[in-house]
Amino acid sequence: MELLTTLWIQRYMVVSVLLFCIGAFSLVFNPNLIKKLIGFDLMDNAIYLMLTSAGYIDGRIAPIVTDFSAAPSAEHFVNPIPAGLVLTGIVVSVSVTAFALALVVRIYQKYHTVYLDVIMASMKKEVD
């Protein structure tokens, strides 16, 4: 029971672990390069979910000041640092995904397939 309570409190972390593992499964198992990339993006998003949930504090609001009469107090706002880190991470993951998809397009133009096992078989034939 105690275990279940902990898991319920940590539900965002549990979901992010599940997403991460689904992404890792697809990255390792799936021979289709596009689906490998989708798994990779799923892993990225799991990390963002984990980071954002680590910065959340119950009962506090987003870190945007609206009342300028007094100096803002840290008691009112959630932690802004994970939000900034996730912002950086999203842009880098967009760049990496675009680059990887461009490589997949070029691989398809050469081998006429996106299945990694077929590509590796043709590559072996070329080397021989």
């Binding site: 119950d58 107090s73 840290a74 900034g84």
Partner: protein, 300 residues
């Protein structure tokens, strides 16, 4: 030994250029048929063996990963508690002195564009680099374009011109100014409300993609051609770099900044954050549209 490496490099360079590698004459492109998956009993038994074992190793790896991560989750600090070690003096300082030091009401914007502006510059450079790499890999030129590709593209253009959907066109003409307005709004108000350069640029780029999908890339090229793309991208990144150098140099010498911080909450406030948001926003717009154009047509 070195001869082999040399030829491998040549093969790689030729692949980047879209040619067959040297040693073979530049033959006509191979017919586009799907090669059969290798079955059992072929000469690829080693690959079958490799695949089976790699799947086994992959399954063990993933299950171990899942177990380790779930065990870690049980020992992490509890969700939503104010006493977590992540809520330490760094975030306290950002919140309590952020407005006074950066002038931005949005503390996240103040953090990533003032305290950590160097990091965000690196991020914009990564985006620039990714757009450059995609251009290198996917741009059409005489090496990687066949006449059948050109014919197919011309046919698509003709059919696109003929059956343009009336509802779609009208809807896009209504939506396009709105999306441009929202994009620029999100960029301009990034320091006092949620938003910023990256999200605003994505909205504006999405509007441009919508326009290109409906009216064809040729219409976008009337106001946004390749020359314009290079100009905006390079000028925005260089402008960001200049702001960054000025900000870091004056700050590290203990001098007050050149750009006044203004009154928090007004549009013209927060010093360098709003101009940097605009520059980043236009760079992201260019990059998003360039990704779309390069992946769909191979040219801007």
């Amino acid at each position: 030994m070195s001869g082999e490496k040399f030829s491998r490099f040549h093969r790689f360079a030729a692949w980047v250029d879209g040619e067959e590698w040297c040693g073979q004459p530049a033959a006509s492109p191979a017919p586009r048929e799907k090669k059969p998956r290798p079955g059992k009993g072929s000469s690829l038994d080693r690959y079958q063996l490799y695949r089976r074992y790699s799947q086994l190793v992959g399954a063990v790896f993933c299950l171990t990963l899942f177990g380790v991560l779930m065990a870690t989750v049980l020992h992490l600090p509890l969700f939503g508690s104010p006493d977590n070690p992540t809520n330490n003096e760094v975030s306290q300082r950002y919140i309590e002195r952020g407005i006074e030091e950066t002038g931005a009401a949005n503390i996240v914007a103040g953090m990533i564009l003032s305290y950590r502006v160097f990091d965000t510059f690196g991020e914009s450079s990564v985006l620039f680099l990714a757009a450059t790499c995609v251009t290198i890999l996917l741009r059409r030129d005489h090496n990687n374009t066949t006449t059948s590709d050109l014919e197919e593209m011309a046919r698509e253009d003709r059919s696109g011109k003929k059956d343009r959907d009336m509802i779609l066109r009208t809807a896009v003409l209504i939506l396009l100014p709105l999306s441009a307005l929202v994009g620029v709004y999100v960029m301009l108000f990034g320091h006092i409300s949620p938003g910023g350069g990256f999200s605003g640029g994505a909205i504006l780029g999405g509007g441009m993609i919508l326009y290109a999908q409906t009216f064809g890339n040729a219409n976008v090229r009337r106001f946004f051609n390749e020359h314009m793309y290079h100009l905006i991208k390079v000028v925005c990144l260089m402008g960001y770099g200049l702001f960054l150098v000025d900000y870091v140099m004056t700050g590290s010498s203990g001098l007050p900044g050149h750009v006044p911080l203004g009154i928090p909450g007004h549009i013209i406030s927060a010093g360098i954050i709003m101009p940097i948001d605009l520059l980043v926003g236009f760079e992201v717009t260019c990059t998003i549209y360039a990704f779309y154009a390069l992946f769909s047509k191979g040219e801007l």
